[in-house]
Symmetry: D2
Subunit: 347 residues, 4 copies
């Protein structure tokens, strides 16, 4: 069986393991205060064109989302999210467990629009008894979203401007950021994100690392307090160096860094899969250009492919078809994709 | 400089890195549902002589403490702990951040006695308005404690019996469990812990792993719900296999397993340091037989040793001396200890 | 101006004030352990035909909702509610502030159906990674709902049976319970609620008391712990007698008790208003038979009535009309309603 | 039996009940936005000599403490309190339930000194890994403390100055504030408190009201957000007017207001009791000049008095004596005190 069901089914890119092995006996302080973390911080600041940025490293995505939300919001504030947002669906109520309501807005395409955010925020403040409802305190976007779609620079810019003018934090979940930034036609860069968001993260777990998310922030309150929040939420890795070593390895080298290369590889393979489905006349659920592709397959097509491949059933498309998800990653072998494409042609 | 300031200043035992490298391209499901985790679970059940035990793997200690406490306690229950307990001092209020008060009892030697637990619990229930005070719901012990001392089988047995008779969960923090179990004269085994506690953990981070804590539990509620709690607290590692691979590597092989061997090595080196201080006539703060040793040094002695070694100042001993901590670990080189002992003799 | 905008715009029924004055100098213990609370508990048990019920008194509705939810649910459990439920909309995220996600189901008529509850619960348990999503732990209904509609005995019975068979607590918010139980055609009684729910409450604030909600429960866990939860959530009134005195006064006398009489009065007046609108040919938003009526008025009709009356704009009905709410209460004067009906006829 | 065991065993001063009865049929908006609350706010601002103060009304003390703490502190901040502070002992872990650790300092006399606060705060910031410990964010004092002792203007001034210079909120719990301010030799005024604290409250429940605490604050963040916090913590009374009416009644009239008169009455009676014990040669536990007196009685003395009076056993004094508490209140009858004094003389 070949697994296409997610982008975290292998270990890490070999360079990562080599770097960990190479540095194994160095003695360093714990908790992210070592030279490797410092190096990784500086590489990230360079990639973002801003050497005043705060950078901290956490282990996983849910942990990162919750820690950022709880560190920034006041107890009576909530976070605006697409109803399909990871924080609203697949985190076992983790943000609520820290006390913060999610203000979930319906979003057919998994993304939020400026209009939605505006309407939600204004309807709160226009309510004469607004203190009876949760106060919007943050906008949470995923880039790419759960369905592989990204934001454009123009979209993110106008959302950012609205947030800044209205005291809303802007937080971008970048668990799959590499795949998004390196997708065809995406005009966003790390520097744009650093400039437009109060806080975002560069996901490592799904893009070549063993684990790890690099949180980047310009917000002053986070600079003062984020390490408290990380520790309190159980996210401060004792051997923090493991995160620094990995992110330095991944992000060193500007646009040619390993992180972007691996993302481009995954996207290329994903697009081959997309084209194979399209050429077969199989409808695609959406226009994702990233490493996740969502063909709409009949039950029979699903059974045929399930003989050799594992993929995820995502939802209902219409009376005869389900949306399924095929994921590629840094580790996807081109031969496996070649074989899959052949099998798609035979459906 | 040679670092003796903690037991998490290097990476991991080379076998761990080799195992990670060897398995790197295997495709597995995520979130601890892979074959490596299953193997590690079974090894642990065997080591504990009980194949009905629940076993789950988390990344770090604070995360583990908080997740266990919050998973087991009702909202109006608190946890009895020594005032020097890690949860009370060094977790940035993490248990309280999940809503649970710590009922901190004074403990000169870092351990709790049955009498203290009993008095605390009874004074609650004897209070005619007991619902105005937090209800004790759990006893938290560390073995070894922050100061390196362990419990005896007899002590743990009587505490366990009292807890079971009084509806108190018994939870043992084993962040340094290997060092405790393998210390001279410690008559506890993993099987004893599994039998006497509702839940305990086998700390990997400080005993040879890159990271990881293996939580072992017999409690039914935890069996039903602990994976929810792990996910909600951001502790569910996407590539859960990394934990399974490490714990299988560490705990395979009964009493000769790598985990215990590494602990014995660290303890032996710690005892050499202890004897060097004792022979020099330097007072030791306590009778720790584990990998942490606490000599009471004058300022001058501290400066002399600080020229070559890094160690931690722990507290005040008397008017002229401070307690300092020297830690050994799986990675401590015998030559470094030899050199340190020589320098102690020259003080 | 005459206020019809809510049912808590006056003080309390005069008998309540007289009872408070009459007992003012009695010396009693605090915190609900006095003889008046005991009397009120017994009256309620009698009204509910079950002398084993737990009964505790709280001050307000949000406080009661949050305390019940947090007392019963485990940290990883959430509460199923209509999206228009008070806990989801008008409590400033209070349930989430205690850590519990609300699983909000769309509900055009403000009520939940068995089918919705079933589908929601089953979709959780059928999810292969259900621990990544919040576990349903409770069903929250309001009777009457925010829009004045009630449940029938048959509906509540089938929901209760499903909840019991599926380990879901059933909690009925009865902030306006009197108006519901005494409405035309409602076949529910206090005894039915006590039998079918794990916990419900009899709202005093909106039905004649100065303040107060009487929580009635058969659940064992609540019997053990609810007073802890009340105290922890700041809901334990020092002079608890004030609640006992009020509820004894309100509920003494079976079906002829003051509470039901006041509710019948309010409902009668509300139905007069309803009929006036209907006779005028003004569409009613829904079929509420309780003290809240929701005509759909044009802007002009609103302005005309707003000259003499205060009422609440509830939402949009269609392009030309808004839904507005007229509330009656125990304190509504029949002459005021007469005048309003005349003015409706003149619209 | 005559009850001296607390100051909340009767209803309310008759003027309060008369005011509630007089205003009963007025129609007002809810939630503290009525004219009575506005009047009470202005009276309090006048009493405090500062018309820019924020004033909100809550029902009870625990609720008030928790709401203020949670509204002001960030998630990673804790509150410094005497270990005997009400928040640390008698609130069922309510502050922790909102996520905030209490940093409890030992306090033999129930009060905190500047030195203690300073040492606690500095030891946090001097810790090189301070993010591993809770960050002090607030100082909580009670005036009078649980044992009846008050602070002087000089003490409160120096604590206030330190707090302001060190970004610590200063919060004074005034559940019994009237008794404190009106006690012999207390040189504090409401205006001093308003000037020196970020937030404090004027306790009504124990000083003549049915219930109610008036929170007074100059802090900007509270002005923006306190009403959200009140609602979220279930403390926003639907018929908020009940609080406004009571506080207007209590505080109208400058230094001759009912609140202060009632406090002076209770203190006078308490001092008569104190003198009776002293004249009898019975040791007093402390120098309280407020409405709570703590004689140290032998078991026999306790039994003798227990035949006619109810009082509270407070703790152990020495091998032969217990500390007991006698409370007076606004409702204490002089004849009852006369009788008690006679019985003391006969001991």
């Amino acid at each position: 069986m070949i697994l296409f069901n997610s982008d975290y089914i292998e270990g890490a890119h070999p360079s990562i393991l080599e770097a960990l092995t190479r540095t194994n006996y160095d003695q360093t302080p714990g908790y992210g205060e070592d030279k490797y973390c410092e190096e990784a911080r500086n590489i990230i600041r360079q990639q973002c064109n801003d050497d005043t940025l705060g950078v901290e490293f956490l282990v996983g995505g849910t942990q990162t989302n919750v820690t950022v939300i709880d560190a920034l919001l006041r107890s009576y504030q909530g976070v605006i999210s697409a109803d399909s947002g990871h924080i609203n669906v697949h985190e076992t109520g983790a943000p609520e467990a820290t006390g913060h309501k999610i203000i979930a807005l319906p979003s057919p395409d998994g993304r939020l629009t400026l209009e939605q955010i505006k309407e939600c925020n204004e309807s709160h403040w226009n309510d004469p008894v607004h203190e009876h409802t949760i106060q919007p305190g943050m906008v949470y976007l995923s880039c790419p979203a759960e369905n592989g779609l990204t934001y454009t620079l123009a979209e993110l810019t106008e959302i950012s401007e609205y947030c800044r003018a209205n005291s809303l934090y802007l937080f971008v979940d970048g668990a799959r950021l590499g795949y998004g930034l390196q997708s065809e036609g995406c005009d966003l860069t790390l520097a744009d994100l650093a400039r437009l968001c109060d806080v975002f993260y560069i996901g490592g777990t799904k893009v070549g690392a063993l684990f790890g998310e690099a949180v980047v922030f310009s917000d002053k309150e986070l600079k003062r307090s984020f390490r408290y929040a990380i520790k309190q939420h159980g996210g401060m890795l004792a051997k923090g160096r493991l995160l620094g070593i990995q992110f330095a390895e991944l992000l060193r080298g500007g646009n040619d860094c390993l992180y972007f290369e691996l993302a481009r590889h995954a996207n290329r393979e994903a697009m081959r899969i997309r084209r194979a489905f399209e050429q077969k006349g199989i409808p695609m659920w959406n226009g994702s250009l990233t490493n996740m592709q969502f063909p709409a397959l009949t039950k029979e097509q699903q059974s045929r492919l399930a003989e050799k491949y594992i993929f995820e059933v995502w939802g209902r498309y219409d009376d005869t078809r389900d949306i399924v998800r095929f994921c590629t990653s840094w580790a996807t072998r081109s031969e496996a994709v070649e074989q899959l494409c052949n099998d798609i042609r035979e459906l």
